[in-house]
Amino acid sequence: MRWRHKDLLDLDNLSAQEIELVLQSALSMKEVLFRPIKKLPTLRGKSIALMFYENSTRTRTSFETAAKILGADVTNFSVAQSSVNKGESLLDTAKTLQAMNIDLVIIRHACSGASEFLAKQLKAGVINGGDGQHAHPTQALLDFFTMKERWGEFKGKKVLIVGDILHSRVAHSNALGLKKLGAEVVLIGPPTLLPPEMSYLGVKTSYDLDSELPGADAVMALRLQLERQQSGLFPSLREYNRLYGLTREKIAKTGKDTIILHPGPLNRGVEISSDLADSVQSVIEEQVTNGVAVRMALIYLLIGGTSNVMA
């Protein structure tokens, strides 16, 4: 099967087979990561622009590392922080990128739809590195890769996603993709962070973590933005932690060899306890490694053309 998309904006329009293709390609990429010399000539002469309108050293570094291993030239555009009125409009930025003949743009932006906006303006490919509350497809794909490495397949697996579902593009993309891959997904959080319209995802939702734990094969904790307390979305870290914080005791209730995921960065002692985050069940560090492999695969699929990846 061949890749036929110019951009990667969302998991909406990817089929299960296309997701599997990404995961398969990532497997060969991961092998490269463990070579003594981590450099391929595959994308020599290709230019990639990183545009991070939201701070995220982790994700930006992951993309940058992936692009460099593949031999591409990477330009970090320093973009003014969330400047709606000062600074250049996204439209003008798109025109600049077009004029510079960039091959691939990776964008993270606080506005939902910003990556789609760029993709419509540009001949170049666009990868969505996270847009508003909308989608974070590369994070979801690296999560799938991590699960698949452990399980081999998704059918019959139960995945709990716990926390601030409302604001989490990670949760949205994960739920969409896992459903396509055949896993059972349960979204869990307090009603203020898990409003009824999340029904659009077509997966089970619950306010009660404890009752969903039995049988869970994976539990993913979402990062809690602490300032949401000031907006009245939860009363205190104490109560949040008691109800939705992941601990070894709670995870023991799954009755399985459950894996623990977290997109990072962690609020230790809030959504996840330190001892659980550092336990053998935790795959949080693997997620970081796999992130590079999956992003290499995506960059390659989008602009690698017919060049031989392993050359």
């Binding site: 709606v84 506005c111 939902s112 739809g113 906006f117 509350q133 909308h134 989608a135 409003p195």
Partner: protein, 445 residues
């Protein structure tokens, strides 16, 4: 002088929906002759007081409707201050091209229309444009601050026909209560833009499955409805006169229905886009669907139509809100709210409601001409003998694609852009003067 023959006159103010001929003299309707019977030349000459027929222009309206000019109680003409979006001249051109002979220009300009001098400026600019009748709406509070009331009596003397801080909801219930009391001095309605800021938050579209799917912050329906309830109660308690702008939720419809049953002096308008589009139509990269109040869900839409048909809701209004292309060419959350309405609204409703049998032409004209003229005590609304000859000759078969080039408005932020619609005005008169013919403005640029 004008002799209009063979039209189908739709004039709910006279209870007429019938074949008719009309004679127009000195800017007024001189005679309405109803039914198949034709006026004789002698009758025409006698009524118009002329000796020869060549002094009379004649228009044969066979197959066309004649409506009293439409009255739109909610437009944003952006002048003074934001003339890159629209000005009173371009807005007036858009109005008459869309079939509107009277409009109420909202006060949320820069500066806001909160003094008599500014009210008179808007009125004069409307007169200079010389097309539609442009009635200024004065601000309720100075500088739209939501605190001190404007000099409403003076504003009215300058030409204001209503008061509104439209664009913003008046957050303080006490300010609204006092405004309803004080506006009694003028007899003018207070137009309320109902939006509770604490509920609307940073939302950009209606809260629901569609907003969740698009990852856009949602505005709950209650952001509007709670303020509609508040204002209905305040109007009841004070005996003031309130008009609810752009009703978009079913709960608002229930509240207004109950309020009317209780005898509260309340009226309400609905915008065409709320009747024709829903939150499911919103696309992340088409900000012409971004409007405030946001596009409703299907159930709201049904309640809005039902409310219009049973008389709970009194009128249609475009909430014409032009914005520049650059402003709208932004990510959804960063683009301004607003739909450019005047030039596509009538055709869009004709096609989707009248042609589909959901609303009769008579009702459409009652809602868009008679009722608004009555509520805001304006000229027009009917073509009885003696009334001003504000008229629209409407071709129900005319098909036209809405394009950026064809729009008289400076802006093009309409979801109907590049869509073909059916049913357009082909001639428009204001006070007997022809201002639009064959879809083109007559006279100066």
């Amino acid at each position: 002088m004008l002799w209009l023959k063979n039209v189908h006159l739709v004039d709910p103010g006279q209870g007429i929906s019938d074949k008719a001929s009309l004679l127009i003299k000195d800017g007024k309707v001189a005679k309405v002759c109803r039914g198949e019977k034709q006026l004789t030349e002698e009758e025409v000459l006698a009524t118009l007081g002329v000796s020869e027929l060549k002094e009379v222009s004649q228009v044969d309206g066979e197959g066309k409707f004649l409506f009293p000019g439409l009255v739109d109680v909610h437009v944003h003409f952006r002048e003074p201050g934001q003339e890159d979006k629209e000005d009173i001249n371009s807005g007036s051109r858009a109005a008459v091209r869309g079939g509107f002979t009277s409009v109420l220009a909202m006060a949320n300009t820069q500066p806001v229309i909160d003094t008599r001098a500014l009210v008179e400026f808007v009125r004069l600019q409307g007169e200079r444009a010389g097309l539609a009748r442009v009635y200024p709406v004065g601000a309720v509070t100075k500088g739209f601050q939501g605190r001190e009331l404007t000099e409403m009596v003076d504003l009215q003397k300058g030409g204001a026909v209503a008061f509104s801080d439209d664009g913003l909801g008046i957050q303080s219930a006490e300010t609204m209560r006092l405004a309803l009391e004080y506006a009694k001095l003028t007899g003018c309605p207070l137009i309320s833009h109902c939006e509770d800021n604490s509920l609307a938050g940073q939302g950009v579209m209606r809260k629901g499955e569609a907003s969740a799917r698009l990852g856009l912050k949602g505005i709950p329906a209650s952001a509007e409805s709670v303020m509609v309830a508040r204002d209905a109660l305040l109007a009841g308690e004070t005996g003031g006169k309130v008009h609810i702008a752009h009703v978009s939720t079913k709960e608002s419809v229930w509240i207004i229905r109950t309020a009317k049953k209780l005898g509260i002096n309340i009226s309400a308008e609905v915008n065409p886009h709320h009747l024709l589009l829903t939150d499911e139509d919103v696309q992340l990269t088409d900000t012409s669907y971004k409007v405030n109040p946001p596009l409703p869900n299907r159930e709201d839409q049904e309640a809005l139509l039902e409310g219009l048909l049973d008389g709970t809701l009194d009128m249609l209004a475009t909430d014409h809100a032009p914005h520049t292309w650059e402003e709208k060419m932004r990510p959804f959350a960063e683009a301004p709210f607003g739909i450019n309405g005047l030039e596509a609204a009538l055709a869009a409703l004709w096609q989707e409601l009248v042609l589909k049998g959901k609303m009769k032409p008579e009702k459409l004209i009652e809602l868009w001409s008679l009722n608004p003229a009555k509520r805001f005590a304006l000229q027009g609304g009917s073509l009885k003998a003696g009334s001003p000859a504000d008229m629209v000759l409407f071709d129900p078969k005319w098909r036209e694609k809405i394009t950026a080039e064809s729009l008289e408005s400076k802006a093009q932020n309409t979801p109907f852009l590049e869509k073909e619609l059916q049913g357009f005005p082909i001639m428009v008169w204001v006070e007997g003067k022809l201002v639009m013919e064959n879809r083109k403005i007559v006279g100066k640029k």
